[in-house]
């Protein structure tokens, strides 16, 4: 939650809090565990689906349709799977605050329990990619950094930049930074292809390769600044700026001092 707490001063925070409060009044159920997928008995499962449906009808159906069939402004959610819901809602991208731009990461509107219920509901409509379990996400054990780097440069760097810092797409869209993104969400993004991102199927990038990717991203995130301040790890643009501003600036300052007469 700490990581999320830095979004508390976001301009969208106040309206979101209002929505949460309203939903809190309307919500009577409480799901005890976020890992509902692990061993739910049939009763708990159907209860979760029912709760998810209620949340959906209140918070999502105005765009995605009463039966999640989609509309002119939002896609159908039938068959997108639990992973997709977990990613979109868990990272706060859904519900969208501003339809004019691409969904941005922000503090999630729903609690983990509510998110799980929503996921269960959407999963019940038609099967789709599942939320990876803790056991599936042991990238430290199952991944290889070097292989991950190779995969990253082949499949990710073109949008997310060589160091995962993000980059521009067409018409104002962008690939977000991967720094600080939880492994689960990286994995889910890969299998579901949120927004402009394409899907990377398990057959073409195997689950083990996905863990390598995550391991490399985490290594890049933790890497100390080996040659000094990084200036965003975005290549020669900031380097050129610094050469002019700091380099030439200092040198011209000294040249001015050098050529003025001492008193």
């Amino acid at each position: 939650m700490k990581r999320l707490s830095r979004y508390r001063r976001h301009k969208g925070a106040a309206p979101l809090l209002l929505i949460i409060a309203l939903l809190g009044i309307g919500t009577t159920f409480n799901i005890a565990s976020a890992t509902i997928k692990l061993a739910p008995n049939t009763f708990a499962r159907s209860a979760a689906i029912e709760e998810g449906k209620q949340i959906f009808l209140k918070g999502c159906s105005s765009c995605h349709g009463l039966n999640a069939e989609g509309s002119a402004i939002a896609p159908s959610l039938i068959g997108v799977g639990a992973a997709s819901v977990d990613f979109q809602v868990g990272t706060g991208r859904m519900p969208m605050a501003d339809m004019s731009t691409q969904a941005v990461r922000k503090a999630p509107v729903y609690t983990p329990e509510q998110t799980a219920a929503l996921a269960a509901y959407v999963e019940s409509l038609a099967p789709g990619p599942m939320i990876p379990t803790e056991g599936q996400l042991n990238y430290e054990r199952d991944g290889s950094t070097a292989e991950g780097g190779e995969l990253f440069r082949n499949n990710c760097a073109m949008c997310h930049n060589f160091a995962g810092q993000g980059g521009a797409l067409t018409q104002g869209k962008y690939a977000p930074t991967l720094m600080g993104v939880e492994p689960k969400y990286i994995y889910e993004a890969l299998i579901t292809g949120p927004q402009a991102m394409p899907v990377f199927s398990d057959k073409t990038i195997t689950p083990a390769e996905k863990l390598s990717l995550i391991k490399w991203i985490k290594a890049a995130e933790a890497e100390p600044n080996l040659g000094g301040a990084t200036m965003g790890r975005i290549g020669p643009v900031t380097e050129g700026l610094l050469a002019w501003i700091l380099g030439m600036g200092l040198l011209i300052a000294v040249a001015v001092w050098l050529t003025t007469k001492a008193r």
Binding site: N154, L169, K173, P198, K203, T204, N225, G228
Partner: protein, 340 residues
């Protein structure tokens, strides 16, 4: 605004301002202070050199220190750098400060002279050259003149010719790729063949032609970088109804899977930014944008041609294969390219 003439009386040159003495020139205490300042600057330079030596000898390669704003820094690199910077910078400061405050600094006037040589020299020069040229008798000796011109012309050729073996002739290398009829599409990296069902709608995968197991490329059936510079193909799966293709191009797809060369038709960068929502491919180098649904038609940016499309189908085992090689050259344009 108007134009002006210079036939006016200009304001007279008052002559240089009187020389003003510096504090150190008149005040012994200022002089002493300046001297001390210079010494301090030299000392700071020494400190820098010592820091450099210390960092080189005593700081291990795996020590990191946290510096606000800059983050976790490699201690040795930072120590060496700051030491070197101090040692050089303060040495310079000391020399300049010394020159500015203490060295004699009276301004001096040098006079300029026109660069033009005297008329006599120029005449002499012309005479010498004329005499020299006349002595060669080039005007009279037509045969020598012509044979010399011919031999100098020939002489210029060998140096160019000697560079011929820098590389092979292009031959058909730019026209051909390693995609042949029946070549399997394999993942890169991983080299796994792909079933049509492996790709979900909205998914994208970079593929290379499978290397023939018999080792077509000699003993080491490995890909050369020059192969990877033209072979990569991007497989994208759409809903078949999203396509807006001519019947011939539609026939080159397989169950909504369409394959394009990943090498940009503009300057050869890897066109790999696929936007699932708009179904556009974007090249990160110069932002050429290609519409996948319309056969990679250029919709923005400097590229002039669509990306070449690879004709794909499946083999008996269901794996994706190329039905035919590329029908046009992949990659950037060149003079010999027949783009009709």
């Amino acid at each position: 605004m108007r134009t002006v003439s210079n036939e006016i009386e200009s304001i007279k040159d008052p002559g240089p301002a009187p020389h003003v003495l510096r504090a150190a020139d008149v005040n012994p205490r200022s002089e002493k202070r300046a001297e001390q300042q210079v010494a301090i600057l030299f000392a700071l330079s020494g400190v820098g050199s010592l820091l450099l030596i210390y960092s080189y000898v005593f700081i291990a390669n795996d020590v990191f220190i946290f510096i606000p704003v800059m983050g976790n820094q490699h201690a040795q690199q930072l120590g060496l750098g700051i030491g070197m910077a101090m040692s050089l910078f303060f040495l310079g400061m000391a020399a300049i400060h010394w020159a500015k405050t203490l060295m004699s600094e009276t301004e001096v006037v040098n006079h300029r002279h026109e660069f033009r040589s005297s008329d006599e020299d120029r005449e002499d020069f012309i005479k010498t050259v004329k005499e020299g040229v006349a002595g060669v008798q080039l005007g009279r000796r037509k045969l020598i003149k012509r044979s010399m011109a011919a031999s100098i012309g020939l002489f210029a050729l060998p140096p160019v010719l000697l560079l011929r073996d820098l590389g092979p002739l292009p031959k058909k290398q730019l026209e051909t790729t390693n995609w042949k009829s029946g070549t399997r599409l394999v993942t890169d990296p991983g080299d796994r063949p792909i079933l049509a069902s492996d790709l979900e709608v909205g998914s994208v995968v970079q593929v290379l032609p499978a290397i023939a197991e018999s080792g077509e490329k000699g003993e080491h059936p490995e890909r050369l970088l020059s192969d990877i510079a033209k072979d990569p193909v991007l497989l994208i799966r759409l809903r078949p109804e999203d396509f807006n293709l001519t019947p011939e191009k539609l026939a080159m797809t397989h169950e909504g899977i369409i394959a394009f060369s990943k090498i940009c038709s503009h300057m050869g960068c890897a066109v790999a930014l696929y936007e699932q929502t708009t179904k556009h491919l974007l090249c990160p180098c110069h932002q050429s944008t290609f519409d996948v649904t319309r056969g990679a038609k250029v919709i923005f940016g400097p590229a002039a041609r669509p990306l070449p499309q690879l004709d794909i189908t499946i083999d008996a085992e269901g794996y994706l294969i190329a039905r035919a090689p590329f029908s046009e050259s992949v990659g950037p344009s060149y003079w010999e390219r027949n783009s009709q």
